[in-house]
Symmetry: C2
Subunit: 452 residues, 2 copies
C-alpha cells in the first residue's frame, strides 16, 4: 500500500531558518516611521522588540540558525506530517495528486507556535520578563501563551472584547498556559481609557488591541511586544514548515506544480512556500504556481493596491510597502477572522507584485463546502482560514479531471477548526453570507493612504 | 539529543488485534439475557449487531485479522506517537521516566475511532445501511459519525438532550461528518414518546438514549446498533493501541513498570494494557503494575462490588458479571462525563478481580491540577477523563523522587480536551466540587441488583 503520511524524524527538524531576503533580485523597501516617515532604524524598534529579532527583521543572511532550545520545543509536535489526500482524490476522481502539510497537531492547533516559541526564547535570552500582545479570536494569543509558558515568561494578552465575550474557549486555553487575558479596550492603558471615556460600550477591534499591547510594552520595564504575522522575522520562523516540506517531497521524489495557502498576514503561507519561491528566484522551477488564497470580503492581494500604508488602524505601527485595502478598511464579519487584515506581509506582497506569486479570492459558502468535503474524506476539520486553500486545491484537482493532467497540488493545512465549529454550523444551516467585494468602502479607505 | 517522540511507520500498524480471551486462565462468565436470565446466544444479538462482531464478541482466537480497509482508514492518524514526557519529568525533578501514547491526533480527537471505524466497516460488509447509537457529551457519537462517513453508511445519533443543548460543538462535529443527531428523548421511538408523555421537559440520560438507539435499530430494516465501550469486541479493536505501544517500547528497549489509564467503560485502557496483561498472564512480567484510574464520584472498581448487573438503567441490555455500583446509580455531575458509568467492561473487571490489575480513584480538583501541570510542560490540553491517569502518573513520579527509583511510568493519553475547556475554566475559578463517594446512593442502588 502506498504511503499516505510522509514523516520525518525529530533530528530532521531544520537547524536553520531560510531568509528569502538573501535571494531577492532587489532589496525590499524599508519600513517608514509612522510619525517622521523616515526609514525605521534598529533603535526605533528597540523599545518594542529584542535586538535579536530586530537583527533578523533586517538581515540579508540566507540561513539563520534555529537555537537548540527552540528546536527542543519544536520536537513536541514537529516535524509535522505531510499527507497525501488519497481519499479526497478518489472522491474527486481526479488524476491530480493532492498533498497537504498538517500543522493542526501543535498544542495550540496551528502554525502560530513556530514563531511564538522562537519569539519567547529570544526575549527570555535578553532578560525580558513579560510579553504583551493582542489577539482577535485567539489563535495568536494562545500560541504566544504556550510559547511564553515554556520559557517561563509572563504573558499579557489584549483580546478584542467581543471575541473575549463570545468565544471563551481560546481565552481559557491562554489561561491554562498561564497568560493573563484582558478584554480590550481596558483601563490598563491610556489608549484604552480614552476610548472607554468616549464609548464605554466599545466592543473593541484588533487595531485598538494592538495599540494597547504596544503601549503596555513601551511603558513597562522588562516588557516587550510580540506580533504574530506580517513582519519579516515572523515569516522567517515559519520557514521551518517549508524546509521540512522540501525534505518530505524529496523523500518521495515529488515536486509540486501548485502550492496554495490562505493569506491573512501571510506568515504561514510564506513559511511553506518561500523555500520553493527561493528556487523560483534562481530560475529553477519556472512552472511552479504559488497562489495565495483570500476571502472576497477582504481581497487584499486580488483587489488592493501596492502602496505604502500603515500596519494598523491607529497609525502607530510602521508604514510598509504592501498590498493594502487601506488601514481604515473594516471588512465584513466573515468567519475566517484571521484573514480580515487590510494589508499583507511586505515580503509576500513584493513577490506577488513582481509576479513570482499569484492570488485568488473566494466567498464563504464555497469555502465551507470544500472544507466539509475535505472533512468527509480526509477526516480533519480545518480552520475557516485554512478552508480557503482547501477550496483552491479542490478546484484545481477538478480542473485536472477535465483535462486529464496529473498535476501535483499542495496546500498548507495550517490548523484545526475545533474552536470554529459555530461557523460550520452556520454554513450547514444556510446562514453564511457571501459578502461582495466592498468596493465603496475600499475606495474611501484608500483615500486615507499616507502620502509618501 | 535523546528522542522524545517514538514514531512507527504506517506499514507497522498491526495486522491483527489481540484477543485476551485466548489467554485467560478461566473463561469469562457469559452475558445473561435481561428477560430470561439465560446465557445470551449469538442469535439473541443478531437483531442488534452484525455477525462478524458477534463472533468477535465470543471468540477465543488469540489473533483476529484487521481488515485492510480498516487499516487503510487507521493510516489517517495511526500509528499514534509515543512520547517521552521529558519536560514534565524535569519539572517534577523525578528520576522516573514518563511515557504517554497520544491518541488526540485522530480526527475526532480520541481513541474512539479505533473501534468506530471497525464497526462501521463490518456493518457495511454485511449490507447494513444505517447505524444507530447514543452519545452523552459526544465523544463516541462523533467517532461513529466519522467511521460511518468513511464507509458511506447513514448514522443516527441519540444525544442526551442536556448535552445537545449545552454542548453544541460535538453535535456540529457529528453533522459535519454527515450524521443526523437528535436530542433524546425524542418522539422517534416508543421509549422516547412514553418518557415525554410523562415528562415533556425531560433532559434525557444515557440510559434513555441507549434504549432509543436500540429500539431504532431493531425496528428498522437495514439498521443496526453500535456501542462504543464495555463489550469484548470493542476492547478487542482498541488493542491496536497496545500492540503499537509494544513495538514502540521495543524500539527503544524499554518495558514499563507502571501503566495507568482512565476507565469509564474501560475500552481505551484495555486496548493499551491487554497486550501487556497478556504477558502477565503468561507469568512474563510479574512486577508490572496495571492501574485503572477513576473518579471518586463514580468509583466502580475501587468501591463497587463484583456481581451480575444490567448494562443499562432501563434493564434492556444484557446482564454481565462486572464491578458495579448498581445500574440505578446516577453519579454526581463531574466534568469527566465519559467516566460516569455504573459498571465497567467485564473482561477488565475479571482481570481486576483476579488481581492482574489494580485501581485508584481521584477527586476532580487534583485531577485538573495535574492536567494543568501537564499542559504547562508538555503543551497538550487533555480531556477531563484522561486527566485522571495524568494525575496517577504524576503521583507515582513524585513518589519516585522521594525514593530515588528510576521507574518507567506509562499513561494512556486518550484524547484532547478542546471541547471540554469549560471544565478547566471552572477549575481555575475554584468552581469544581470534589464530590465524596456517594455511599448511600450506592447502597440503595446495589439493592436492585438482579438475583442470579
Amino acid at each position: 500500500m502506498e504511503q499516505i503520511k510522509i514523516l520525518l524524524d525529530e533530528n530532521e527538524i531544520p537547524k536553520q531558518w531560510y531568509n528569502i531576503q538573501a535571494d531577492l533580485p532587489t532589496p525590499p523597501k524599508p519600513y517608514l516611521h509612522p510619525a517622521t516617515k523616515e526609514p525605521v532604524k534598529a533603535e526605533d524598534m528597540a523599545p518594542v522588540f529584542p535586538m535579536e529579532l530586530i537583527k533578523q527583521e533586517m538581515s540579508t543572511e540566507r540561513w539563520i540558525p534555529i537555537p537548540e532550545e527552540v528546536r527542543d520545543v519544536y520536537r513536541l509536535w514537529r516535524p509535522t506530517p505531510l499527507y497525501r489526500a488519497k481519499r479526497l482524490e478518489e472522491k474527486l476522481n481526479t488524476p491530480a495528486k493532492i498533498y497537504y502539510k498538517w500543522e493542526g497537531v501543535s498544542p495550540p492547533g496551528s502554525h502560530k507556535p513556530n514563531t511564538a516559541v522562537a519569539q519567547a526564547y529570544y526575549n527570555m535570552k535578553e532578560g525580558v520578563e513579560r510579553l504583551a500582545t493582542e489577539t482577535g479570536a485567539g489563535q495568536w494569543g494562545s500560541a504566544l501563551a504556550f510559547g511564553t509558558c515554556l520559557f517561563d515568561l509572563d504573558c499579557t494578552i489584549y483580546m478584542v472584547k467581543i471575541s473575549y465575550e463570545q468565544k471563551p474557549y481560546r481565552r481559557i486555553l491562554m489561561e491554562i498556559w498561564g497568560a493573563e487575558v484582558f478584554p480590550s479596550p481596558t483601563k490598563r492603558t491610556n489608549v484604552g481609557k480614552k476610548i472607554l471615556e468616549k464609548d464605554p460600550e466599545c466592543t473593541g477591534s484588533l487595531g485598538i488591541a494592538i495599540s494597547e499591547a504596544t503601549e503596555d510594552a513601551v511603558t513597562h520595564e522588562g516588557t516587550k511586544y510580540s506580533l504574530g504575522s506580517v513582519l519579516n522575522h515572523v515569516l522567517l520562523h515559519q520557514t521551518v514548515e517549508g524546509l521540512e516540506l522540501k525534505k518530505q517531497f524529496e523523500q518521495i521524489d515529488v515536486y509540486p506544480d501548485y502550492m496554495f495557502g490562505c493569506v491573512g498576514g501571510g506568515s504561514n503561507f510564506a513559511g511553506q512556500c518561500f523555500p520553493f519561491v527561493g528556487d523560483k528566484l534562481k530560475g529553477e522551477n519556472p512552472d511552479l504556481q504559488v497562489i495565495s488564497c483570500e476571502p472576497t470580503a477582504c481581497p487584499t492581494l486580488t483587489k488592493g493596491i501596492y502602496a505604502y500604508d500603515y500596519g494598523d488602524t491607529a497609525m502607530l505601527q510602521p508604514i510598509a510597502l504592501m498590498y493594502t485595502l487601506g488601514h481604515d478598511f473594516v471588512p465584513p464579519p466573515i468567519h475566517a477572522g484571521g484573514l480580515r487584515y487590510h494589508g499583507d506581509a511586505p515580503l509576500l506582497c513584493k513577490l506577488t507584485y513582481e509576479g513570482y506569486m499569484g492570488a485568488v479570492a473566494y466567498h464563504q459558502n464555497p469555502v465551507f463546502e470544500a472544507a466539509t468535503l475535505f472533512a468527509q474524506t480526509e477526516g480533519f476539520v480545518v480552520a475557516p482560514e485554512t478552508a480557503h486553500c482547501v477550496k483552491a486545491a479542490i478546484d484545481e484537482a477538478r480542473r485536472c479531471k477535465e483535462t486529464g493532467e496529473e498535476k501535483i497540488i499542495f496546500f498548507a493545512n495550517s490548523g484545526h477548526g475545533h474552536f470554529d465549529l459555530a461557523a460550520y454550523d452556520a454554513y450547514h444551516n444556510g446562514k453564511l453570507v457571501d459578502y461582495e467585494y466592498p468596493i465603496d468602502l475600499v475606495k474611501q479607505s484608500l483615500e486615507k493612504l499616507p502620502k509618501i
